[in-house]
Structure formats: structure tokens, C-alpha cells
């Protein structure tokens, strides 16, 4: 009887039933003689499979009971919150934000490994001039790598660390809408699976940007990617609404906006960006889907449509999206610096203001991705100007980190090492960004490895260094155990050196004219590419150290105290891991989050009165 309860088994059965009904009815219609395309079969099959999956996992059971006016079973609803220590709750529709955070983290790191393996295949192909895997395979591999890594950057810190920590950091018992929170997570497995099994549908080779006309002509795998992207978009809109309501309405008494930890501020701005921008790209991808499946002609130049229009709509989301990926990382970095420098965060109000200005400005710079697209030329100079303007608030965030480190009493624990790694990587990413913002240099460097290097320095530098820093920093809080400091240091040095050895030479390769998204290159670049591939394999090996450290420490690490770092934010004022209701008594906040200065070893007493 277990299998009949809401859960993974029933979800898989539901998805299968949905897929069979959706695809089957259209296949039958095709047999009867109606004109049915493969795209329509895939589309309806996927849609009903998704609905079946959500019904099976139990996502709608409480809402349905409520909607028909029946009494919701309170005990069942509380049971859905999960029981502490029960591993099964991680595989159920559990409404505890801490469980959902761990679900997101596990999903994100799994995707990170899969997408990283795809990158290894790419470097295998590129190690020497000539073709090994073949052009089509290479295109599909880099597209899958891109799509998955973008998802990692979008969900890992916001969905994982954010879900786990934001309610605790503001002194709440949970998110404002726990069931919606669980729904946002359970919307993800099916689209992720669809991207993972993409090669079975013929793969997609347009890259994650999915520009038409290529994406209109490519095979079914392309359609699968578009549908997966829209689904993830819906999930992130729901989660953005949830975060904003939580932050604005659920703070403990005394937790004024300017007393919020900077990490919470970063996620707030991120959520606003996600809320406002995501529906635009979801609209654009839907139009593209309709062009493919229903015969519309939004982006079909041959029938009066406009290809550049797609790029505008796409980048209107996708430029803010790089801040959706980057800001949470910046927030995690700024959160960690004061703790290991034992100093208040430098220029906290200015850092908050900078996050907000980055958010506002990020909507005015999208067309710098399109300088060579043939868009209206009068647009070039204003966009170049706003793009360079956005480096001012970003620089202030940077200065906030540096100013905190300056004259601090530094403790070089693993999270702090990642902070320094971030500072170096993001600095290079920021400086090289200027060349891509400038129209004349961009015209030369566009679509070369210079862009690949710049992008990885900003997104790995911002999101992934921030993710590793945050994961080590909050590991004791989440698991109740300490990670191995030695393995953590090994991971840091190995990863950082390999990362720089991989991507620094790519700037040079790009200037030399090596094109990105092409499986082959001129023979004289072979030596450097071999070096880059060698370094890239080292990145992968270093991540294996991280996985080993996390798994082993979670099982057998020494018990962590409630507040091993002597930090002052609220999440450290409760047990590790926090009890299921987060706090035994909701604290009252009487001061800011970073009032350090008493020297090491002086615990932050008197800050939060339980």
C-alpha cells in the first residue's frame, strides 16, 4: 500500500499515464488519418506528463481539498512538513523549507557534475585540432553543458542556500507559502530529465540561447529544450514571489530592512529580477515553440517575422539573468567576509544600494549581447554607456568586500579562501567585460573564446565561487557536522589553480581568433588548447575532492556546535541543524547583523534575545 501514497512512485506512474494519454491520443489521431506532427505529440505528452507527475507527488492535494470546500486535514498537512531525521522526506512533497533547500542543493550539484562531464567531453574534442567526436555531437554537448550549467547557476544558491537560510536569517518559521515552495522544486525534475535525455530526441545544437532560425529548423530535441526552459521559468517565478513575500512580511520583530543580512538583500533583488524578467523570456520561448509546432511566424523572416525581435526578448531576460546568477554569489561572499575578518561589513547601506542599482540597471543593458546582430545602430552607444555604468555599483560591492578585509583580523578558513578566489576571478571577469561592452572591441572579440573566458570568469567567479564559499560556510549549520578543513583547502587550491589555468589562456585564444561553438580550430593553436584541456580535467578532479569531502563529512564528520564561526546572524543562534520549527522561541532582533569588533572568541551575546 505504500506505493499508493503520494510520493515518487506515484509521481512516476502519474507522469507515465500523462505521457501515454497525451502522446497516445495524438498518435491514435495520426493513425486515423489526421495530420499530426512529432512536435505536437511531444508537446502534449510532456505537458500531461508534467501534470501527472505533480498530481502523483501530491502537489495539489491540499489545494484541491480546500478548493472544493472540504476541511483540510491539519494532521496530514503537518505530516507533509516532514519529521526530523527521516531521510524519506527528501523524496516526498515536503513543505519544510530546510528540506526543500537540501533538495535544491542536491539537484544542483548533481547537475553540476553531469554538465561538468559534458565540459570534459568538449575539452576532449578540443584538445587537439581535427575532429574526434564529430561536429554534430560537439554542438549537442556544448548546448547541453550550457543549458545545465545555467540551471545550476540559477537554482543552486537561490533555491538551495536561499531556501534553507533566508527564513532562518530573518527569524521566520518557514517561507510564506510552504506548499508553493515545494511545488517550485517539484516542477524541476521532469524538465531536467528532458534536457538530460535530449540526445534520444536527436539532441539540440543551438546553444542555450536558442536563436532562430536555427532553433526553428533543428530537430525535436530543440523543442524539448524550449519546453524545459519554460517550465523552469514558471518554477522560478513562483519561487521569486514566495521569497519576496517572505522577506517583506515574515521578518521577526526588530529585523528592519536595514538590519537584514546582506545575503537576504542580494536574494531579494535577485527575486525582483526573476519576477519581472522571467515571464518575458517565457513569452519569447512560447512564441518560438508556437512557430515550431503551431505554424505561427513570429520569428520567421520568410513570412514577415523578425529574428532580431527574438534576440531582444531573449536578452531582456537573459542579461538580468546573469545577475540572477551572480548576485546571490556576491551576497554569500559579503555575508562571509565580516565573519572571518571580525569586522562589520564595510559600507553596508551602500552595498544594499548597489545591489538595487545593479538590479535596475540590468534591465537597460541587454543589447550589448547584440552589437553584431544587425540591430538598429542608434542603439549601440546608449547600451555601451549603460553597460559601463553598471560597473560602478558592481565596483562598490567589490569595495565593500575589500574594505571589510582591510585591517581585519583575518581567519583563513576554507570559506574565506573562496572569498579571495572570488575576488581574483571576479576582478578579471569585470575588467575583461569592459572590452566586450565597448562596441569597437566587441565587434572583433564577439563569438570568440574571449567571450567564453570572460563569461566563465564572471559566472564561475561570481556564482560558483560564491556557491562553494557558502556551502562550506553553512555546511555545519545544514548538516550539524564539520567538513574536513584539509580536504576543503585541497579542493580550493586545486580548483582555483586549475580554473585559472583553463580560462586565462582562453583570452589569448580568443584574441588570436579562435571561434567559440566550433569543434575545430587552426592547427597553430593546438599547443595552448592541449594545455587548457589538461587544466580543465584538473577542475573536474578537484570537484571530486569536494564531493568526497561533503559525503564523508556528512556521514562521519565531527559534531558541529550551534555557532562554530562565532557569527552574529540569526541562523547561528539556533541549533545545528536547526530544529524543525527553526527556533524554539522566535528571537527579537536588537542590532545589525555584523557588529563585530570585540575580538575573536567573544561570542555574540546580547544580539538576539531568545
Amino acid at each position: 500500500m505504500r506505493a499508493l501514497k503520494p510520493g515518487l512512485v506515484r509521481a512516476v506512474v502519474g507522469a507515465a499515464i500523462g505521457a501515454v494519454i497525451g502522446a497516445g491520443s495524438l498518435i491514435l489521431a495520426g493513425i486515423v488519418g489526421m495530420e499530426i506532427t512529432d512536435g505536437e505529440i511531444l508537446g502534449l505528452g510532456y505537458l500531461l506528463a508534467l501534470i501527472g507527475f505533480l498530481f502523483g507527488i501530491g502537489a495539489f492535494r491540499f489545494w484541491l481539498t480546500w478548493a472544493v470546500g472540504r476541511e483540510v486535514n491539519i494532521e496530514e498537512e503537518h505530516a507533509a512538513h516532514g519529521t526530523a531525521g527521516d531521510w524519506r522526506r527528501y523524496f516526498l512533497f515536503t513543505t519544510d523549507h530546510k528540506v526543500i533547500g537540501v533538495q535544491y542543493l542536491a539537484t544542483a550539484f548533481t547537475l553540476f557534475l553531469v554538465a561538468g562531464s559534458a565540459a570534459m567531453l568538449m575539452r576532449f574534442e578540443l584538445a587537439q585540432p581535427g575532429l574526434v567526436l564529430g561536429k554534430e555531437a560537439y554542438n549537442e554537448i556544448f548546448s547541453t553543458h550550457g543549458a545545465m550549467m545555467i540551471t545550476v547557476a540559477l537554482i543552486s544558491i537561490v533555491g538551495g542556500l536561499g531556501n534553507y537560510l533566508v527564513p532562518i536569517m530573518i527569524g521566520a518559521r518557514d517561507m510564506a507559502f510552504p506548499k508553493t515552495n515545494a511545488l517550485s522544486y517539484w516542477l524541476l525534475p521532469l524538465p531536467i530529465l528532458l534536457v538530460a535525455i535530449n540526445p534520444l530526441l536527436g539532441g539540440f545544437d543551438s546553444g542555450w540561447t536558442a536563436y532562430p532560425p536555427l532553433s526553428q529548423q533543428a530537430n525535436l530535441g530543440q523543442q524539448a529544450y524550449l519546453m524545459a526552459f519554460v517550465t523552469v521559468g514558471v518554477a522560478s517565478i513562483l519561487s521569486a514571489i514566495n521569497f519576496l513575500v517572505t522577506v517583506f512580511r515574515m521578518r521577526a520583530s526588530g529585523m528592519s530592512l536595514m538590519r537584514m543580512p546582506i545575503f537576504v538583500w542580494a536574494l531579494t533583488v535577485t527575486s525582483v529580477l526573476g519576477l519581472v524578467a522571467t515571464s518575458v523570456v517565457a513569452g519569447a520561448f512560447t512564441m518560438l515553440l508556437f512557430d515550431r509546432v503551431l505554424g505561427t511566424s513570429f520569428f520567421r523572416a520568410s513570412r514577415g517575422g523578425d529574428v532580431i525581435l527574438f534576440q531582444h526578448l531573449f536578452w531582456f531576460y537573459s542579461h538580468p539573468a546573469v545577475y540572477i546568477m551572480g548576485l546571490p554569489g556576491l551576497g554569500a561572499i559579503l555575508e562571509i567576509v565580516p565573519v572571518f575578518a571580525r569586522k562589520p561589513l564595510f559600507a553596508y547601506p551602500l552595498a544594499v544600494l548597489s545591489f538595487i542599482s545593479i538590479g535596475v540597471l540590468s534591465f537597460m543593458v541587454w543589447a550589448h549581447h547584440m552589437f553584431v546582430s544587425g540591430m538598429a545602430t542608434f542603439f549601440h552607444i546608449p547600451i555601451m554607456f549603460t553597460t559601463e555604468l553598471i560597473s560602478v555599483p558592481t565596483g562598490i560591492v567589490f569595495l565593500s568586500a575589500l574594505g571589510t578585509i582591510w585591517m581585519g583580523r583575518l581567519h583563513f578558513k576554507v570559506p574565506m579562501l573562496w572569498v579571495f578566489g572570488f575576488i581574483w576571478a571576479f576582478l578579471i571577469g569585470g575588467i575583461t567585460g569592459v572590452f566586450l561592452a565597448d562596441v569597437p572591441t566587441d565587434l572583433t572579440l564577439h563569438d570568440t573564446y574571449f567571450v567564453v573566458a570572460h563569461f566563465h570568469y564572471t559566472i564561475v567567479g561570481g556564482a560558483i565561487f560564491g556557491l562553494f564559499a557558502g556551502t562550506y560556510y553553512w555546511f555545519p549549520k545544514i548538516t550539524g557536522r564539520m567538513y574536513s578543513e584539509r580536504l576543503g583547502k585541497l579542493h580550493f587550491w586545486w580548483f582555483t589553480l586549475a580554473f585559472n589555468a583553463t580560462f586565462l589562456p582562453m583570452f589569448w585564444l580568443g584574441i588570436e581568433g579562435m571561434r567559440r561553438r566550433v569543434a575545430d580550430y587552426s592547427p597553430q593553436l593546438g599547443g595552448v588548447n592541449l594545455w587548457v584541456s589538461f587544466a580543465a580535467f584538473n577542475i573536474f578532479l578537484s570537484v571530486a575532492v569536494f564531493v568526497f569531502n561533503i559525503v564523508r563529512s556528512w556521514r562521519r564528520g565531527p559534531q558541529a556546535e550551534a555557532n562554530p564561526w562565532r557569527a552574529q546572524t540569526l541562523e547561528w543562534q539556533t541549533a545545528s541543524p536547526p530544529p524543525i520549527q527553526n527556533f524554539d522561541h522566535i528571537p527579537t532582533v536588537s542590532s545589525g547583523p555584523y557588529e563585530y569588533g570585540g575580538g575573536l572568541g567573544v561570542p555574540a551575546e546580547g544580539r538576539a534575545t531568545p
Binding site: 518559521r173 510564506a176 517565478i237 514571489i241 512580511r249 518575458v280 513569452g283 508556437f290 505554424g295 505561427t296
Partner: protein, 190 residues
């Protein structure tokens, strides 16, 4: 032990804030569709761009707009009845709103069937059907919400103290009506 928001007043204001934020996101969705429409139309030699197509007549969609605006009025009265705890008033007004919405959908369906051009009729057909179709889908979702209100009101679960669902539905419905008026002005009149 309670999780999430237990205090009914706070839960109510949380829900209404969430609805407002959702409407902001929806506005951006319609913004993208309108942007596509205006860009494509501005690049066309004429509108409709292909000879032989007529823009749909104003009569039926005009009637639809009247229905939509009227249904916002009845929705307003539903909310007023809910606030004052007038249970029979709630049921009367929400029923009327639901009825107006259903007639709207029927007329739109009739219009779609008799327009004489399809979704694949170039950029004209694409923009027309996708914009009105998205709006129609939003109307249908609104009708779903209203059906829930009807059901709960019939069970006596909507009162002066507990009517968040009514207010949430009304916010959403005003948005749908406003979007409909913009669509009408753009697609049929302008």
C-alpha cells in the same frame, strides 16, 4: 506547532501581496507579447500585411469588452458583499460575474471560428490569435477561480472574516479586464 503564517490577518495580506506580485509578472508577459506585436506591425508594409485579409469586425469583440468591463463591476459588488458578510449577495454577484465571463468565452470562441483566417496566416494571424488566445486562457483561469469562490460560498465558507479568495480573485479579474481593454484597443481599433 505551526509553520508558515498562522495568523489569519497576516496570511491574508501575504496572499494579496503575492497576487499583486504575480500580476506584475503577468504584466511583463503581456508586455512581451505587445512588444512583439508592435515591432512586427511596424516592420510590415501594411496591416494586415497580406492582401485578402480583413481585420475582424468591431461588433462582437466590442460586445465582449462591454461584458468584461461589466463583469469587473459585478466583481466589485462581490467584494463589497463579502466585506459586509452578505452571504446571499456574494453568491448572487459572483454567479453573475461567472456568467458574464462564460458568455465572453463563448463569443470569443464564435469569433475565432468565423474569422476566416487561422493561426498560420502569417504574422497577422500569429499575433492576433496568440495575443487574444493568451488573454482567453487568462479568462478561463479566472473562471476557474470564480468556480472555487462559488463552491466555497455555497458551503458557507466565505464570510466577512474569511474572504481572501474573493479579494484575490477580484485583483486578478481586474487585471484580466484591463488587459482585455488594451488588447481590444490595439488589435481591433488602432
Amino acid at each position: 506547532m505551526g509553520f508558515g503564517e498562522e495568523d489569519p490577518d497576516a496570511a491574508r495580506s501575504n496572499m494579496l501581496l503575492a497576487v499583486k506580485l504575480g500580476i506584475l509578472s503577468e504584466t511583463m508577459l503581456f508586455g512581451a507579447l505587445f512588444a512583439a506585436y508592435f515591432v512586427i506591425r511596424s516592420e510590415s508594409p501594411g496591416w494586415p500585411p497580406v492582401a485578402g485579409f480583413e481585420r475582424p469586425a468591431l461588433l462582437l469583440p466590442g460586445l465582449d469588452m462591454v461584458l468584461l468591463v461589466a463583469s469587473s463591476g459585478t466583481m466589485l459588488w462581490t467584494v463589497r458583499s463579502a466585506r459586509s458578510g452578505d452571504r446571499s449577495g456574494i453568491r448572487r454577484w459572483i454567479g453573475l460575474t461567472l456568467l458574464l465571463g462564460v458568455i465572453f468565452i463563448i463569443i470569443q470562441g464564435f469569433e475565432f471560428a468565423t474569422n476566416g483566417f487561422g493561426l498560420d496566416a502569417g504574422t497577422f494571424g500569429s499575433t492576433f490569435y496568440v495575443l487574444t488566445g493568451f488573454h482567453g486562457a487568462h479568462v478561463l483561469a479566472g473562471l476557474g477561480l470564480m468556480a472555487i469562490v462559488v463552491r466555497r460560498a455555497n458551503r458557507g465558507l466565505v464570510s466577512a472574516e474569511h474572504h481572501t479568495i474573493v479579494e484575490a480573485t477580484s485583483y486578478y479579474w481586474y487585471f484580466v479586464a484591463a488587459a482585455g481593454v488594451f488588447l481590444f484597443a490595439t488589435l481591433y481599433v488602432l
